[in-house]
Every structure is written in C-alpha cells, then in structure tokens.
Amino acid sequence: MTEHAYLIVLLPLFSFLTIVFALRWKEQVSAVFSVGMIATSLIMSIMVLIETLGHQGDYYAAAFSIVELGAFKLQLGMLIDPLTAMMLVVVTSIGTCVEIYSIGYMKDDPRFSRFFAYLSLFLFSMLGLVISDNFFMTFIFWELVGLTSYLLIGFWFEKKSAADACKKAFLTTRVGDLGFIVGLLMIMYYCGTFNYAEVFTMIGAGAVPSGIVTILAIGVFCGAVGKSAQFPLHAWLPDAMEGPTPVSAIVHSATMVAAGVYLVARTMSIFIASAEASMVVAVIGIATSLMAATIALVQVDIKRILAYSTISQLGYMIMALGLYGVDTANGHHSPGFYAGTFHLMTHAFFKSLLFMGAGSVIHAVHTNDIMEMGGLWKKMKYTAPVFLIGSLSIAGFPLTSGFFSKDEIVATTFGHPVFTVLTLLIAFMTAFYMWRLCFLTFFGEPRVAHRYEHAHESPNTMTYPLFFLAFMAIFAGWTGIPALKHGFASFVAHGEGYVPHADWVNYIVSSIVGLSGIGLAYLMYIKKSISADKIAEKFKPLYNLFWNKWYFDEIYQAAIIDPIMTFGRWMWTFDGKIIDGAVNGMATLTMWWADVKMWIDKWIIDGAVNGAGFIVRMAGSVLKYLQTGRMQFYLILSMILVIVMILLKFEIAHINIEWPSMTVIFIIAVLALSIASRFVSEDANQESENEK
C-alpha cells in the first residue's frame, strides 16, 4: 500500500475536479461523492500507518522531476515515515468527519456543492503537504493550502468581514512565506538540492556554515510562523473564523494551521544544527501561547475564543519543538519532538471536536456571542456532553488525550525554569477560559430568551462525527501512556529510541493546575462567588489590552498597511508627475526646440534663400538689357568675343590685362553696347514706322 500512497493525495483532487466539472448542480451527489473519496483515503491512510508500524526505520521514498536543468532539479516525491503516516491518518479522519458534518451544517446553502469542492481541494493540498519529500513540493502545497484557506474563509464572500478576513489571511501568511522563500533559496544555494534527506545529511555533516544554518532555519520557521499563526503573524487566525464553522474545524485548527508545526517537526534536523534558531522558535512559541491565552480569557465570541486557544496550543507545540532543538543541540535528551507532534495529533482531534461542537451550538442559536447563550445543556443532549469532553481534554483533565500530550510538553520544559512556569500558567489559563466558555454556554440560566427558545439539537450528520471525535479526544492520547511504553513516542521519535520523561510528579502537578483552572471558572461563572466584572474593573488597563487583542490589528494597520498604501499612492503620483512628467517634459522640450528651429528656418535659412533670389532679381534687372531681341546684336557680341580671344591667344595685341578685371571690362562694354543698341533699335523702329 505504501508505494501507492500518492493515491491518498490524488483522490480528493479527483473529487474536486469531478464536482467542479460534472456534479456542480447535483448537490447531494457531490457531497456523497467527496465523502466517499476522502473515506477511501482514510482507509488507505490507515493501511499505510499499519504498514509503517510494521517496518520500523525503513521508510519509503520516491520522486520524479518536473524541472531538470543540469544540476538544478525540481521534484515531486513522497516520503512515508511515521510522522507522515500519523499526519495522513489525522488529516483524513478529521477530513471525513468534517465532510459528513458539513452535509448537515451547509444544508440550504446556495453554494453547497462548491463547498465540498473546496474542501476536497483543501484536503488534496494538505495531504500533498504532508506526503512531500522535499522543500519545493512542500512549498507548492504550502501555498495551495493558503489558496484553499482563502477560498474557504471567503466562502460567504457577500459579508464584508469575510471578504476582508480571507484577504488578510492570505497576505499575512504570505509575509511569513517571504522568510520561507529566502530559506529555500539559501537551501538551494548551499546544498544544491531540496530533498529533505539530502539537505539534512549535508547540514548534519556540517557542510553548511553554522551562521548560515541559523538564518536558514529561521527563514523556514518564518513560514511556519505565518501558517501556524504565531506571533507576530497571528492576527489573521481569529478573523479567519468568518468562514463556515466546519472550515474552522479542519483548516484553522486541526490541520492547516498545524502545518507550521509539522514543517518544523519535519525539518527538525536543521533546527538541531542551530541552538540559536531553536531558541528563537521556543521563545516565539511561548510568547505566542501566553499572549493568545490572555486574549482568550476575555473574549465573548465562541469561535474567537477557540481560535485564540488554537493559537495558544500551537505556540505550545512550537515551543516544545524549539526546546527539543535547543536541548539536542546542547547534547541533552529531550522529549520535545514527540511532545510537539503528539500534542499536534491530540490537539487536532479535540480542537476539531470543539469547533464542530461550537458549530452545532451556533447552528442552534444563530449567534456567536456566549453572553447570549446559557443553559443549553437541556436543549442539546448530544452536543453538550461531547463539547465538555473536548473541553476536559484541552484543559488537561486526567486521562484525556490533552492530559497526556500536555504533560509531555511540560516535561520538555524541565531544565528551562522560565518556560516551565509560563507553560503551567498557560495551562491554567487554558483550563479557565475553556471552562468559562462551557459554563457560560451550557449551564446557568438562559440569558437571552428568544435564542434559547429556538435552540434545537443538530441533525445526525452533524452529531455522529462529534461522537467519533469525542472518542478520539479521550483515547488518541492513550497511545502515549506509560503503560504502552510510550508507544507514540517510540514510534514517531525520529529513530532515536525512547527517552524517559513525564513522571508521576509531572502528572500530578499538571492535573492540579488544570483542575484549579476549571475550579476558578466554576467559582466565577456558576457559583458567582468571585465577580468577573470586579476583576475586570480592578485590572482595567490589562483587561482593555486583552479585550483589544493587544492592539495588534490597529498597530499593523497604522504601522504597515497604511504606510504601504500611502507609499503606493506616492509612487503612483511620482510615476505620473516625475517619470511620466520627464517623458512629457521631453516632448514639451522637443516642441519648444521645434519652435526655435522654426524661427531660425523662417528668418535665417529661408532668409538666405530669399536673399539669393533678391540678388538674382537685382542682377536680372541690370542684365536684362543684354536681351535686345536682335539676332545680329548677339552675333556681333560673339564675334567681338571671338576676336578678343584670338587676340589674347596669339598675344597679338600684347595686352597685359588680368582675367578678372578683363571680364568686368568686357561685361561693362557689353552692357554699354547693348544700351546703346537699344536706342539705336528704337531709332530704327521709329524710322521704319516713319517709312510706313
């Protein structure tokens, strides 16, 4: 099966193409078709996973070139190792759930088929990203998931907020991709290949200067920052909640945003080679996590709380991977790698569960504002329990998935006290805000009556996937429990074997932290023994800071977007006024020069021509007297000339007159003769007239 793993990727693409070109108008058929395709992919993924479990360390890789120019090759290929196999199953299983769920959720939407086409395209891109064996192919699918995310966020594009959000998401992730591209360029430049295995071998062997590795790793990490919504590029993810809820469940919590984490995990060898880069990764991770958690504390939009929670959890994973890099680079053992990937898997299940539960709630009450909900436990017999299971899992309640994976992360931070403290603090906040959400939504009294009245349980297509995910939210983490000898860890651990980690102390501490968070939420929102409003009043500046999401949107608008737009307009003005002005100025100058030329032409050149004409006319008025009209006069003239020439020739006359003056004398003589002859002829005329 493993050698045909590419089919897992291609089936959703086939589904996309079929829906777009053939099934566009047959809504139910297209939905069923795409579910069928992704379900087949799921089955095949499970088969691949089983096969991969079978042969440890013997991974499958294959590739073919799409560009070959001498040494420069661009290839598409697949690499099946435990990490890939695990991600394939996660993506396809959640994908199947989401597609089934969407049949109910998207019912009555005018673009029902299109939604399934987009989802299929997304799954294709995501699976391609997972299966890729080189940086180039990863980047291709990296961008394609960006496109599908754009399409899905903007699915209800009539809403201005959705249209804004999809653009923001695409552009923000693209900013991260800048770093990614630079990283890729450096990889190509220093390694001459994009293939993961070859690049890792070269970097591992020290073929690339360490300073370069740091820059290169940070470049690649930039891509992850954008895609996984890490600080400072996290601002798009909450806005991305404008998309339909199933989209939030799969794209913006479970899979695509986890792609950044996956990328860091996949390229861990680069980070291992640079402790500095790994430290950057870890710090960014913890900072993001902390910031997002604080924001989530005070929000009231159910999906946005979940979105900030997602950012926070992704920060967790990134931090774990970063610390793993730091520790490994310094020669220590660390459970960070599988802590990160483990949490990636468990988080995918419980977070998509939470989102789809939230979608079910929204479907029921038609609002996102938790302040308008309350007491829904009675109305939603299925949704409420599974949602609570998800919340328990994310809060780290003992024996749920989240409990085990979070413990691994906490265990990773041992040796870095600051990180440990912050990690526990975040865990506490997570438990608190998740349960604040639960208590406000499902318990207490209904706060807005008409919302409560109309609330109803969702159809089966929506609830059944929730059951499956709830099951996974509890038991997916059991693959990593000590009793199984940390099965997940030894499976995915990069062939490094098993390292002792989270112990009982660890478990107890984090249980206490999680439970106390839940307890505080209980006290504040059910018992109301502590007033939330009073606390908000007391820490007003802090509350405002969190409520306004640390003012990131405003800062970016003022510091980046507005300046760029203004600069663009300046440039346009510059283009019109200066550059084009120079061109037009050249034209004006040419026209002016032409005017000057025209003046010269008129008065000097033409003047010279006219002057020549004038001189000729003057000469003519004198010389005209030669034209007597009498033949014999001409003959006499020529005879005289001949005689003179003869005289000169034979020097008979010994006249020594120079030629020029002689010519003048000759002309004068001729003129005199002609004038004389004129009178003569006039006399003759008179005579002849007289005769007549």
Binding site: K624, Y625, Q627, T628, G629, R630, M631, Q632, L635, I636, M639, S681, A684, N685, S688
Partner: protein
C-alpha cells in the same frame, strides 16, 4: 594653300558682313550659306595639304553640306511661318524675345 585660304577668308568675310547687315532674313540665310562654304573650302584645303592621305576633311565638308541643307529647310520653314503671322520678314521688327 594660301590661295585656298584667302578665297575662303574672303568668302567668309562676305558671309559675315551679309549676316550682320542684311535685314531680310532670307538674305541672312543666304549669307550663312556663304560662310558654310568658306568653312568647307578650308576643311578640304587643310585635308589636302596637311594630311594628304586621309579623307576626314572631305567627309566633314559633306556632313556640313547635308546639315546646311537641313538647316536651310528649317530656317526657310520658320521664315514662312513668320511671314504668315506678321506678313513681314524684316528681322528688326521681329523682336518679341526682347525683354
């Protein structure tokens, strides 16, 4: 040689005088013919005495006779036309080319 040339010179001078002084165009034409003939005599004489073996001079004079005949035809035709237009062939009165 001198005798031939002298006759030719006399003949030429007569022609020249005639051309310059006659007022009747036909007279002028006749005088022109005289000058042609003077030239012909010269050519034949020079040929005879300077390059005795050759016929260039004779040839040329034959040419001139032919051209002179043609020229006389053209000239007389013009005269005829002049007469038709002006009823006059006195060259003094035909001065339309005067400025």
């Amino acid at each position: 040689m001198v005798a031939y040339l002298s006759v030719a010179a006399v003949l030429f001078s007569l022609g020249l005088f005639g051309v310059l002084t006659r007022r009747n165009i036909i007279g002028i034409l006749m005088s022109l013919e005289l000058m042609f003939n003077a030239v012909n005599i010269n050519l034949v004489a020079f040929n005879k005495f300077v390059w005795p073996g050759e016929l260039t001079g004779q040839l040329f004079s034959l040419f001139i006779i032919v051209v002179a005949a043609a020229e006389a035809v053209v000239g007389l035709a013009i005269v005829l036309l002049l007469y038709r237009n002006w009823q006059d062939i006195t060259n003094d009165n035909i001065n339309v080319l005067k400025w």
